[in-house]
């Protein structure tokens, strides 16, 4: 045979150990640089806050303290428009909406993207309007969602779902076109039916590109969801921002924004890590 199997497997083991060491060192470097970046921003923020009044730009320590104070309950709001619940309850509502809508949009987008790439009729009928919709500023749809669904949950997550669906559909369609021709002849000569080809070849083959689209949707999703909640929602981070702004509670608004930012970063890191594991087969 060509290579001595023992030598090859030993080299794979060495490679794995080397790769692990490189990965750990890379992660440490990444965390260190990230922490340094955060510290730099906090310093800059403190510097700006020191030169102005806290009602306009509060300092980081005040903001962190307000997060702690508001975490489970915000008694000050009971006398304004707000009934009960703290930062945690509102953040959970927002996170649930964003995750649910991104998941639904991703599944729908993948299925629809594959269908678009595989069906000539669907492609001819649906692709032009889909491409036009892809150019719409999606925030424009927000008043319509509010008019149609009122304060119902779908009015808030509809926007994120729509954006994710369009983004994933276009990416999945292109990825399908890229891989279908490459593998189709081989799979069919091995006896794969069309449905087997879709589930065992197309779906896994388009996952790497789809993960990228999910991360883009997720990044945009926090902003869309918060804006939708500001316009009309019973709960959520956006709703809190809206109520805090009426009560001119600037420090607390900064607290909500900081929480949303941290959640967005952590969620993206988790999706990226999960994605790396899922596509660990990729070169």
């Amino acid at each position: 045979m060509l290579e001595a199997p023992g030598a090859r497997s030993k080299s794979i083991t060495n490679d794995s150990a080397g790769m692990l060491r490189t990965a750990v060192l890379g992660a440490i470097k990444k965390v260190a640089l990230g922490t340094a970046g955060i510290a730099l921003i906090a310093l800059l923020w403190s510097f700006i806050a020191a030169g102005t009044i806290s009602a306009l730009v509060p300092g980081p320590i005040e903001v962190v303290r307000s997060i702690g104070d508001n975490f489970f309950d915000i008694p000050e709001l009971r006398y304004i428009y707000y009934s009960s619940g703290g930062l945690l309850e509102n953040l959970v509502y927002t996170v649930q909406n964003v995750i649910t809508s991104v998941m639904l949009g991703t599944v729908g987008g993948m299925v629809f993207g594959i269908a678009l790439a595989r069906s000539r009729i669907l492609k001819l009928c649906i692709e032009p309007p889909l491409l036009v919709m892809g150019t719409f500023p999606v925030v424009m749809l927000l008043p319509f969602f509010t008019m149609w669904f009122g304060t119902d949950r779908i009015a808030q997550y509809g926007l994120v779902l729509f954006y994710t669906f369009i983004t994933v559909t276009l990416v999945a369609r292109q990825a399908t076109l890229n891989v279908a021709g490459y593998y189709e002849d081989f799979a069919s000569s091995l006896g794969a039916s069309r449905s087997f080809f879709r589930t065992h070849v197309l779906l896994p083959a388009i996952v790497p590109e789809t993960i990228g689209a999910v991360r883009i949707s997720l990044a945009a999703g926090w902003g869309f969801e918060t804006v939708a909640e500001i316009l009309g929602a019973p709960l959520g981070a956006g709703r809190l921002i809206q109520v805090f702004s009426v009560a001119i509670m600037t420090i607390d608004i900064f607290g909500v924004l900081l929480c949303i930012g941290i959640i967005a970063i952590v969620t993206d890191a988790l999706v990226a890590a999960g994605g790396r594991w899922i596509v660990r087969w990729k070169d």
Partner: protein, 294 residues
Amino acid sequence: MDRPMEGLRPPSQRTSRRMYPEDQLTGSAELQPGAREGYAIELRSVSKTFRLETGEQVIAVDGVSLAIRPGELVCVLGPSGQGKSTLLNLIAGFIKPSEGEVLVGGRPVTGPGPDRGVVFQRDTLFSWRRVEANIAFGLEARGVAAAERRKTVERYLKLIDLERFAKAWPKQLSGGMRRRVAIATVFANKPDVLLMDEPFVGLDYVRRAALHKVMLDLWQDSGCTIFFVTHDIDEALALADRVFVVSHGRIAFEATVDLDRPRSTEALVSADANDLRLKIMQSIGADPLTEGEA
């Protein structure tokens, strides 16, 4: 057609099985009606025309008739762009003939199918499936039971000497190992006919020779018919029972390779082999180094 799997037979036992009367092995000439029965692959006056974007018609295959017996290893030679791969694609069912008929196992070809395995020049391993799952792909697609799949995969991993790499991802394998997996994937599906489109192109001589051995072992083990497209005359002489030279979409030359198996380096540079090599070279075309000299 499902054949029972046997252990590897010594290559010498196959030598006599590969000799057929030349009059029944027709290339570009018309087939005799009585000789049509029992062929693994048969092309009857097949033509294939492509229309270019400019509207111009290009004849890739021009009225080819040929017949290949079950268990035969046929190499199709010729320069690039002369119709070799088009012939293979017609037999695979990836494209339909403009004229004529393509039969495999006596049945007309209407599309791709597991009875005709294809090994491509490009790397077609499924990157997201481990080596063992790649080999099992066709069996899984055809609904073969998990226990039988496992047994077949183990057997082929052993035959290609990659048992240690059953759980490896394709990206962890060398180029030669990936070709071995691709070949095993197709053989494991037990096709009646194996179509190979320059599968070893780009590999160095030693790796290529090693892969030839793997392929010949699997071929002898399975007894399937192989239609092997190559532009390498030495490769054709090392592998084939019979060679066809395709030129301008037609069979320009056909000959039986009457060399005993296994074919040693000495056999491949013997007077008989060199004679055939010269005939093939002459049928392929002019010698570009001496062309134009008086």
